[in-house]
Amino acid sequence: MSIDIKDIIKPENLVYQKSRLLTDRVMHYCPGCTHGVVNRLIAEVIEELGIQQDTIGVAPVGCSVLMYNYIEVDWHEAAHGRAPAVGTGIKRLLPNKYVFTYQGDGDLAAIGTAETIHACNRGENMVMIFINNGIYGMTGGQMAPTTLQGMKASTCPFGRDVERDGNPLRMTEIVATLPGTCYVTRHAAHTAAAVRKLKKALFKAFDNQKNNKGTSFVEVVSTCNSGWKMTPVQSNKWMEDNMFPFYPLGDIKDV
């Protein structure tokens, strides 16, 4: 029994298609970059919640600096590391809007540490999405605060030495101790199952805003295959073997 491909590819058989909120612009990310997956999931979540008209995103500095080109919602660009501060201002002036910030590890955990911690401590009612790939991807693979011990980067070519460079920073555990956060979780996007879990977490994070519960903080452990000098498939394997033991996945706080 055979059926022609043309008979399967019909609108009534559609299972999955690109989100309507994503623009036609081709993403500038490297092939296999996790940013693309997370951008797509945010678009899907906003579309499925039907809050396109009420959502304001805050774009960071880093690889995802041009993110405002990809999702059809209102955007604000923040100075390096200051997305939580800008998001705070937007949310306080327009409390009925859904506000989210999207930052990498160099932005959120290095230059923007103060803004991150204080926004979470004040319990600003917004979603903070944290992409952690342990490297400064945009500027050429330098060591980040989240770089693992022994992990190679262009500024630590023999691996991160804790004696010299300090310990890697678990930002998500830090903000989980603050009273202002309501939902702190860590996810990945390397397999279809992980992507589906991450989407559920993003749903919950956006939903928390409706109930004025406080800051929702979603970390996504990601890959940077260009910075790590691996293929996308190898980077996913490397992430499973090396990143997950130090950055374990799962909900850290949920009140």
Partner: protein
């Protein structure tokens, strides 16, 4: 017993040939083409269309949202 058949359509203009879909496919349907697209990437295509079950795993992991998935249930008459 009903049989499930799926099919994917890859946008070969925006595909960057990262091969994450190839690794995620449970039935080994997808391969990278020998030809390249305008940007010089070996785009993904359905190598074994008969094996596709329309699970959408490839579309889930695709960073560039270039995969559309279709699925149909065929009732066997025998």
């Amino acid at each position: 017993m009903a049989k499930i058949r799926g099919a994917i359509v890859v946008d070969d203009v925006t595909c960057k040939g990262c091969s994450l879909c190839v690794a995620s496919c449970p039935t080994d349907v997808i391969r990278l083409a020998d030809e390249v697209n305008a940007k010089g990437y070996n785009y993904a295509y359905m190598h074994q269309p008969d094996a596709c079950i329309g699970c959408a795993n490839c579309a889930m992991v695709c960073p560039d949202s270039c995969i559309t998935v279709y699925k149909v249930k065929i009732a066997e008459t025998a």
